[in-house]
Structure formats: structure tokens, C-alpha cells
């Protein structure tokens, strides 16, 4: 290998190294802090190609500038009406001032620790000001959680500014009773359900009885109406018969009496009857002696 070749190769390597040590790219999703002997000197927030003094005089550190969410551990808070609640919340945050960020919290875990501290203490204060029924309620006018969280977001955002951070939103992901309180809640839920079950059954019986009584009533009405009609009809028939008979028999009541009597005799005098007839009875007029 000739000297010239060696020089040429070293030159290429040196240029390449220098380019790498001086120029750096900044992506849209990141901020870069240029440090001089470890001390941050400036922030680069524009994406594109930038330059600095070569290492080891100046070096760079990259920070993601996108909005990110993170989930601190579940915490227990006390409401104004002294009820324990388990809360899981998350802040949506991002780095806004990388130099401040680097100077104060250094890295993501540091930032998360700070965010957790600040937001959870705000939450603690806020929950202490509200009853549970203002956070969990079916009454829309009583619901204060949104107002409360907006306030917490605002206050926390102010407080994290000095760390080069911004909080865009703080939201409650889980809000429940702590394990130890759950048993009594379940007890209450069971009792409530039993109450409802009993109500359904007795309502059912009530309704059913009403329906039955109604049916019986209807039955009675129908039958009595029918009885009324029956009586009217019968009366009508009887009345007409009476009139018809009367009209006819009126024509000769004596004859009717005679006929009817004969008919009656026939009916009531049967084989068991013993007739004692004197010989001067009309029918036996000719029995004792012929024509006088």
C-alpha cells in the first residue's frame, strides 16, 4: 500500500467522521439539545439539517416532542364525604422546552415521576372538595368531575411549565371503590336486587289478581244480563199466552169452564180413584129406572 493511498483513505475517513461529528439531522418528531461539555447551550426545534462544533466539544441529545400518555399506579383518595376511592388517571403531556426539560428532569422517567407527583397532589386536593355524589351521579346538573378535571389540567399545566413540559389533558381512567370497601358495596347491591326481585313478584301477583277479579266481574255481569233478558223473554211469552187464551176463552166462558172441567176430571181421576155414585146421580139417571 503506497503512502498516497493511505493518505487518501485517511482523508476520506476523516471527512466522513467530521461530517458525522458536526452535522446532525432533526426529525419532525424530536427536539435536539446541543450540549457543550455536558452543559446544554441551545435547543433545536426546527426539523432539518443542523450543525454544531464537533464532538467532544459539543454533543447532542434528542427528545421526542410528541404527545404521549402514561399511566401512573392506582392511587387511593378521600372524598369530601369521607369515602375512599381508587383512582387511575393519565396525563397527556409533551416536552415543550427541551433545555429546561434536560436541566430539571433529565429524562422520561424523571418527567413521569414529576408529573405523577404534581397531578396526584392536585387530584388529592380536588377530591377532598367534592362529595362522591358530585363525581358519580345520574343527575347531570350535579356532575362536577369535568369541571374538576379541567381545573386540575390547568393548574398542573402551570406547575409543570418550569420543567419544560406541558399537560394537555388529565383524565380519570378508573374510579372505583378500594378492595376493602367492595364487599360492603356488593352486600348493598345484593340487597337492592332482592328488593327489586320481590317487587317484581308482588307486582306480578297484584296484576294477576286484578285481571282475575276483572274476569270474574265480567262473568257475573254477563250472566246477570243474560238472566235479565231471559226473564223478560219468559214474561213476554207468558203474557202473550195469557192474552191469547183470554181472547179465545172470553168468547164463551161457560163452555170453557165445561171443557176445562172435563179435561181436569180426566186428569185427576185415575185407577186409584173410587167413585161413589148415588143412583140418582145425573149420569146414572137411567140406571135405576128407565125413562120416567
Amino acid at each position: 500500500m503506497s503512502i498516497r493511498k493511505i493518505i487518501l483513505i485517511s482523508l476520506v475517513v476523516a471527512t466522513f467522521g467530521a461530517v458525522n461529528l458536526i452535522f446532525f439531522q432533526v426529525d419532525l418528531t424530536e427536539y435536539v439539545v446541543v450540549t457543550q461539555f455536558g452543559k446544554p447551550v441551545r435547543a433545536v426545534t426546527d426539523p432539518g439539517l443542523h450543525w454544531k462544533l464537533p464532538d467532544p466539544f459539543q454533543s447532542i441529545q434528542r427528545f421526542d416532542n410528541r404527545l404521549t400518555v402514561f399511566l401512573p399506579n392506582k392511587m387511593e383518595f378521600l372524598t369530601k364525604d369521607k369515602k375512599n376511592i381508587d383512582v387511575e388517571f393519565y396525563p397527556a403531556w409533551k416536552i415543550t422546552k427541551p433545555v429546561e426539560f434536560m436541566k430539571t428532569v433529565k429524562d422520561i422517567p424523571g418527567a413521569q415521576a414529576r408529573l405523577t407527583d404534581i397531578v396526584s397532589s392536585e387530584l388529592g386536593v380536588a377530591f377532598g372538595k367534592y362529595d362522591l355524589t358530585s363525581i358519580v351521579t345520574t343527575d347531570e346538573n350535579n356532575m362536577k368531575l369535568k369541571e374538576m378535571m379541567d381545573n386540575i389540567t390547568r393548574v398542573s399545566n402551570d406547575k409543570v411549565k418550569e420543567y419544560g413540559l406541558s399537560i394537555q389533558d388529565v383524565r380519570v381512567k378508573v374510579l372505583s371503590f378500594p378492595e376493602k370497601n367492595k364487599l360492603s358495596v356488593f352486600q348493598r347491591m345484593r340487597a337492592e336486587r332482592e328488593k327489586i326481585a320481590r317487587k317484581y313478584r308482588s307486582e306480578g301477583s297484584e296484576e294477576a289478581s286484578k285481571i282475575r277479579a276483572d274476569a270474574d266481574k265480567e262473568k257475573t255481569i254477563i250472566l246477570s244480563k243474560a238472566y235479565e233478558t231471559v226473564q223478560k223473554l219468559k214474561g213476554e211469552g207468558d203474557a202473550q199466552a195469557i192474552r191469547i187464551y183470554a181472547d179465545a176463552f172470553q168468547k164463551d166462558p161457560e163452555f170453557y169452564k165445561f171443557l176445562r172441567s172435563l179435561q181436569a176430571y180426566e186428569k185427576f181421576i185415575d185407577t186409584k180413584t173410587t167413585a161413589i155414585l148415588p143412583t140418582d146421580a145425573d149420569i146414572l139417571k137411567y140406571f135405576a129406572s128407565p125413562k120416567k
Binding site: G237, Y265, T273
Partner: protein, 517 residues
């Protein structure tokens, strides 16, 4: 005597090399360093070369040429297989390197110390072999010494990589691993080509050149040099060609700054790395995020286990790619907090029964609001309630409520059935009664009409001869009646007023009469 000394040197170094490999594997296991793992395999190639030299030396001492020919043939075939095996190992390690996950190495300082020790051992082994080779005039032993030298360089690269990792250059270990993989590959190619040559010509593979790694490659490089440089430049610029799939949107960046935010599907060109980059965002797919079941507090302070799934799609590729760090987590947390918020405003009964559709509509709107606020570029397609059930501990009570509801329905149905039976039956009965009455009335009237007519007819005839008719009718009737009766006819001269008449009647009459007699 020379031969024995050479063989002794080889056997000692092979033994030392085994220990070295063992040490390297232990260190690789301790730290998880890929470079160390690759280094261990490279040392293995070194042992193999030493073994070949040893066999060659032993065979060269033998008088029996036919036997040694046979052994050398087997040797050559084994060499080919070993070289393929090494190529495969190199490929495996390379795969691990490009898998891309950041590797976290442990116990780095101790491992570095160990790796430095391997450098020292390799160095002395190499020196020893070269020294003995020169003393005994054995070119193959000298060459083997240089192989060990290369192994030492490999160890140096490992140490550099690990040190780089220690000071924060996280990828240095991987870069070191790639370099060593290249060394393994070159050694494998070399062993393979010389074994083939030896198979053609007979004898053992020629390992007696200084650079086991590059001897054959160098020849090709010479030819390549003429076309090589322009070709390399061309290939470099050709890497700028990229393809946007039909379901993607490309975002082209130059030095990290976006210059084209909506590259349509098709073939495109950007400047090659590191000047230009492109991010491809899938905008057609609908992604599904599912939350895990969690107990939520309802508006009436009951606990309900709820989990949801949300379908989303990318609406704005640039926002999606650059505004938020972890879209899936954001969507998941957002939908979970929204669901919780809504659940905390409804009663448990509404939630478990008819309120679901309404809740989902609200959840979709509110989740979208959060995602819009975050400039996420995400559009929520829909939110589904996978389950909303009472917790296990109280589920029996809830089932009891539903069976009570069923009971209620049963009671009502039974009563309705009763009603449906009783009313029509009584209507029927009433109709029967009325029909009967109508019959009665008509019968009465008809009888009356008939009887009246009968009377009138008879009266008419009677009037024509009243006395005779009356007498006839009277006597006829009397005849008819009296024929059936017992009759006692008493003379009118007997004064009935003074006379006692005894009648025996009824069922005892016969008896009494018989006794009288």
C-alpha cells in the same frame, strides 16, 4: 522431533482455544452481547483450521499414502459441511442483529474484563504458533498463527463494541457483531473454496496463506475495482427508490424535515439515506383496540364490569405520525376514561338493559373529541360494548331479579289465560240461557195460539147444538173416566147420611178382606 513439537503446539493451542470459546459463550450468556456470541463462533472456525493443520501434519508423517488419501478426502468433505454450518451461524446472528429491538446488556464491565482476557490469550496463542512455525519451518502453522491473530482482532472489536455500549452508543455492540459475522463468513468461504480445490486435486485444504479470510476474495476485488466504484455509487442512489402501497400514504422527509406530506401510492424516488427518508403510514386499515374488563362505578354507586373495543382509522397521516407517540395507548386510555365517565352518569339498570346504544353513541363522540384535541389524526369508526355485566360476586342476585321478572310475566299470563277462558265461557252460557228463554216464550205463545184455536173451533160447532153436544161430551168423558175407576153405586133410597159405609182401600185391602172372611 520437529513434527512432534509442531503437533504439541497445535494440541496446546486447540485446548486453549476450547477454553477460550467456553469463556466467550459464558460471557455472551452473562451480558447478552451479540458480538461476543459471534466472536465465540469465530473462535470455533479457528479451532477447525488448527484441527485441519494438525491432521495434515499427522498425515504427512505417514508412509501409507492410500490411507492418508482416504482420510484427507473425508477431511475435505467435513470441511465443506463445517463451512456451510458456519455460514448458517453467521446468518442467524445477522438476523438477530437486524431484528431491531434494542438489546439491553447486563454486567458489561465484568464482561469487558473477560473479553480483554480473551484478547491476551488469543495474542499469546498466535505468537506461540507463529514462533513455533517459523522455528520448525512450517508455513501451515505460521498461517494458523495468523488466523489466531484475526481471532484476536475479533476480540478487540468485541471490547470496542462493549465499551461503546457502556458510554451510551447502544448500537456499537451490534455493529461489532456484524463485523465479526463478516469475518466468520469470509473464513467459511475460504475454507469452503480451498476444500473444493483440495477435493479436485487431492490432499488437504490449503490453509497455508497468511490471510485465511481474504485470500480468495481479494482476487475478485481486483476485477471488481474497475466497475466497482461506479456500481457502488449507482446502487447507493438506487436505494432511494421506494414504493407506496395502495393502502398507504407516504411522507417524504429530507434531513428530517417533511417536504412532501401526501405521497400517493405508486413508485417514487427520494434521496438515499441518510439525506432522504420516507415514512409510510397505513391509512386504509381499520385498527381494533380492546380494553380489558374493569369494574366501573355507575351513577347510582353500583359496580359493573365493563370492557369496550374501539375501531379506528387514520384520517390525517401526518398528524398520526408526528403528533402522538403511542396512538394505541392514547386511543385505549381515551375510550376507557370516556366509558367510565358515561357509566358514572347512568344507573345500573339502564346500563344493563336499554341504555347501551345511547352510551356507545356518546362514547364514540367523546372519544373523538379527545383524539381531536390531541391532534391525533385518528377517526373513531365505532365503539362497541363488549360486555357490561355485574361483578361475579353479585351475579346471582341479578339473575334472581331476572327470574323474578319472568315470574311476574308468568303470573300475568296465567291470569290472562283465566280471563280469556272465563269471559267467553260465560258469554256462551248467557247465549244459551237467552236462547232457552226465547224457546220458552215462543213455545208458550204457540201453545196458546194452538189451544185457543182448538177452543174456538170446538165452540163454533158447539154453538150449533149446545145441549146435545154438552150432554154428549159429558157422557163420553164420564164413560172414559169411570171405566178406569173402582165404582160403588149406592141406591138413592139409602140415606147416606144415616148409613155407615166401610171401605178398605190401598195395599192392605186384600189382607184385611181375607181376614174378614
Amino acid at each position: 522431533m520437529y513434527a512432534n513439537r509442531k503437533e504439541k503446539a497445535l494440541i496446546i493451542t486447540i485446548g486453549a482455544n476450547f477454553l477460550l470459546i467456553a469463556l466467550k459463550f459464558v460471557l455472551a450468556g452473562m451480558s447478552g452481547s451479540l458480538a461476543l456470541k459471534a466472536g465465540a463462533w469465530h473462535s470455533f472456525s479457528d479451532i477447525f483450521v488448527s484441527g485441519l493443520v494438525l491432521v495434515g501434519l499427522v498425515l504427512s508423517r505417514r508412509e501409507d499414502l492410500t490411507l492418508s488419501k482416504g482420510i484427507s478426502r473425508i477431511e475435505n468433505i467435513v470441511s465443506v459441511f463445517v463451512s456451510f454450518f458456519m455460514l448458517y451461524i453467521g446468518y442467524e446472528i445477522f438476523q438477530e442483529v437486524i431484528k431491531g429491538e434494542e438489546r439491553v446488556l447486563t454486567q458489561v464491565p465484568i464482561v469487558i474484563t473477560g473479553a480483554v482476557l480473551t484478547i491476551v490469550v488469543s495474542y499469546f496463542m498466535a505468537r506461540y504458533k507463529i514462533f513455533v512455525g517459523k522455528e520448525t519451518n512450517s508455513p501451515s502453522l505460521v498461517a494458523d498463527g495468523y488466523h489466531s491473530m484475526v481471532d484476536m482482532y475479533g476480540s478487540i472489536i468485541v471490547v470496542v463494541g462493549l465499551t461503546g455500549y457502556l458510554i451510551g452508543l447502544r448500537n456499537m455492540d451490534k455493529v461489532a457483531a456484524v463485523i465479526i459475522v463478516v469475518l466468520i463468513g469470509l473464513a467459511a468461504v475460504e475454507i469452503c473454496t480451498s476444500s473444493f480445490k483440495a477435493l479436485r486435486k487431492g490432499g488437504l485444504p490449503n490453509t497455508a496463506h497468511r490471510n485465511v479470510h481474504l485470500e480468495s476474495v481479494r482476487k475478485y476485488l481486483r476485477r471488481l475495482r474497475i466497475v466497482g466504484l461506479p456500481l457502488l455509487v449507482f446502487i447507493y442512489f438506487a436505494t432511494g427508490i421506494y414504493y407506496v402501497q395502495w393502502d398507504q400514504v407516504g411522507i417524504e422527509k429530507r434531513f428530517g424535515r417533511p417536504i412532501e406530506t401526501e405521497v400517493p401510492p405508486g413508485l417514487h424516488y427520494r434521496l438515499p439515506f441518510p439525506m432522504g427518508q420516507v415514512d409510510l403510514i397505513n391509512t386504509a386499515n381499520i385498527k381494533t383496540i380492546e380494553t380489558s374488563p374493569v369494574l366501573m362505578l355507575t351513577g347510582d354507586e353500583n359496580l359493573v364490569e365493563v370492557n369496550t373495543s374501539v375501531h379506528y382509522t387514520v384520517e390525517s397521516a401526518i398528524n398520526f405520525a408526528y403528533q402522538i407517540k403511542d396512538p394505541d395507548a392514547l386511543v385505549k386510555y381515551a375510550v376507557e376514561s370516556v366509558t367510565r365517565q358515561i357509566v358514572s352518569q347512568v344507573g345500573i339498570d339502564l346500563l344493563l338493559t336499554t341504555g347501551k346504544t345511547d352510551i356507545l353513541e356518546q362514547a364514540k363522540t367523546q372519544t373523538q373529541e379527545i383524539l381531536n384535541k390531541a391532534l391525533s389524526g385518528i377517526r373513531v369508526v365505532n365503539v362497541q360494548l363488549l360486555q357490561a355485566i355485574p361483578p361475579q360476586e353479585v351475579i346471582v342476585a341479578f339473575q334472581e331479579v331476572s327470574s323474578a321478572w319472568e315470574d311476574r310475566a308468568t303470573y300475568l299470563n296465567e291470569a290472562l289465560a283465566y280471563q280469556n277462558e272465563v269471559v267467553p265461557v260465560s258469554r256462551g252460557e248467557a247465549a244459551g240461557m237467552i236462547a232457552g228463554a226465547i224457546g220458552y216464550r215462543d213455545q208458550k205463545i204457540n201453545h196458546a195460539v194452538g189451544e185457543a184455536q182448538n177452543f174456538l173451533n170446538r165452540l163454533e160447532e158447539y154453538k150449533k147444538a149446545p145441549n146435545v153436544t154438552e150432554t154428549r161430551m159429558y157422557i163420553e168423558k164420564m164413560e172414559e173416566i169411570l171405566v178406569k175407576t173402582d165404582k160403588i153405586i149406592i141406591d138413592s133410597r139409602i140415606n147416606v147420611g144415616d148409613t155407615d159405609l166401610w171401605f178398605v182401600k190401598g195395599k192392605d185391602a186384600e189382607k184385611i178382606l181375607r181376614r174378614e172372611e
